[in-house]
């Protein structure tokens, strides 16, 4: 945290909304994107992100600076999303069939460009569609580590601080999460191969 941010933090802790807004400006997009991957749709991501910053604002007086400010915000993001999932599970409103959004085209571009066969194209299109759904079908504890590590590229050390687990636990959890995700993704591909590509 630089001097300006320190100053903004002090003012925000006194209740200065503008200082607070300046302080969180650069974290908004990250929070929104983590929430989007956690919740699976833009509407919920919006509500969750707003809730995150309200919580941060109300709790900022208690922020002691033991962790980095960003780590603290992302920890609250994780908590807000998990709380919401828990609430919904209680109310039984979370439907597995709920339509999930994924942004078009972003994944395909990343695939290796070695002139794929028609089957491969079909396969990859199917996977692009599946990957967002696959993430959404992971248990929360898996989802959060996949999002932080594999999508957002946080270091294991940072993730350990965000989810408040030892680094060793983070590594074993992410290994399990990747295995689960791979099962969902490539399990589907095998199905697709047998059903359509023959």
């Amino acid at each position: 945290m630089n001097d300006l941010e320190q100053k903004l933090l002090k003012n925000a802790q006194k209740g200065d909304i503008e200082a607070f807004e300046k302080l969180i400006e650069k974290h908004q997009k990250m929070v929104y994107n983590i929430a989007f991957r956690m919740m699976g749709n833009r509407e919920d991501a919006y509500d969750m992100s707003q809730e995150v910053f309200i919580r941060v604002f109300n709790a900022i007086g208690r922020f002691k600076g033991n962790a980095a400010f960003s780590t603290w915000i992302y920890r609250i993001t994780k908590n807000v999303c998990l709380d919401e999932h828990r609430k919904r599970k209680n109310k039984n409103t979370l439907s597995i069939d709920k339509e999930l959004e994924g942004e078009q085209g972003s994944i395909q571009r990343q695939l290796r460009d070695d002139s794929p066969s028609p089957e491969e194209i079909f396969e990859k299109k199917a996977m692009k569609k599946t990957i967002q759904e696959a993430i959404n079908n992971l248990p929360d504890q898996h989802k959060i580590v996949i999002i932080l590590r594999d999508i957002k590229g946080f270091s294991y050390q940072e993730i350990a601080k965000i989810i408040e687990c030892p680094e060793g636990t983070v590594k074993s959890r992410i290994n399990r999460a990747r295995k689960a995700l791979k099962d969902i993704l490539y399990g589907n591909r095998e199905l697709l191969n047998t059903e359509y590509v023959k």
Binding site: G15, R42, R112, M127, I131, D150, E164, G168
Partner: protein, 330 residues
Amino acid sequence: MKECGEIRELIPFYVEGELSKDEINIVKGHIEACEECRAEYEETKEMLSMLKGVEDIELPEGFSEDLHKKLSKESGVNRKVIRFIKSKYFKTLSTVAACLIIFIAVRGMLDKNRFDFRDKASGNDEKMLTMQEQAVETKSIEDITKYGNEGSVEKMAVDEDVCANLGDKPEKSAVNGSDAGIVDVIINLKADNPDREYMKIAKYVNEQEKENESHIKSDEDDAGSFSQKSNTYSLRIRNDMYAEFENYLNSNYASIEIIPVSKEKSNLDIDEYNRQLENIEKQINEINKKEDSDPEKIEGLNKQKDMILSNIRELEAEIQYTNIELTIVK
């Protein structure tokens, strides 16, 4: 040559470039030779590159403005609350409320025997706890008969401290002699309605257990358990879930006190062992470099290394618990 299972654990870290040189060589050698692991490697690489390629979405328009409105409202509410707390009206009201709480507490003392919130799911510990509870109950019944017969409400009110402490004191003495009563952490909470908060926390713990079932196949019955005595609750929770539990409490309760008690029982975590392991390996390497290396010393270090390795294995194999004594007061 390592087993395929071990190699597969390393493959994602290999793809990420998070392995040591030695490990890289082992994995590389293996996937060149083993077709199945090579397929696993290809899939992992593809999946990780897809995840890495998942692009950010833009913040919707009006996000900041919307937030600004909410924050202004929030800060307005806070100011109103503070003004209200400072007002004379609040002082009168809080005095009345305090009197009411004392009255209810005294009534509750008289009716104490009617309350029994034992959690049925708490398994083996239940027997032990039931015995402890009986100790508590016997003591409180003694107190109640002592005062109850005299029927003097003022006297009861004077002894309010006695009521407040009834939960802990006899229980602690009952706990001392038994293994099941080890307390790793004492947590004190303030809440308006301790019973309701206990139910909430119990529910949270149960849900956590359910959520984590998919991670650990064995030990499904051996979930975190709750048992209640007076306003003090015994609770144990898996170590890997404890940090999150603490975080949950911290984010939900303003007035909370967390006191770690015995850490020697709950073992060093895996990271610490790994650090020790590295240290010993370094020492062994250094001794090996010297010309006049002392075989006895190396043997001793190797023994230490084996011990740490077996500790790590043990830690990884069994689920460790943190025993919590949770007191909720008004």
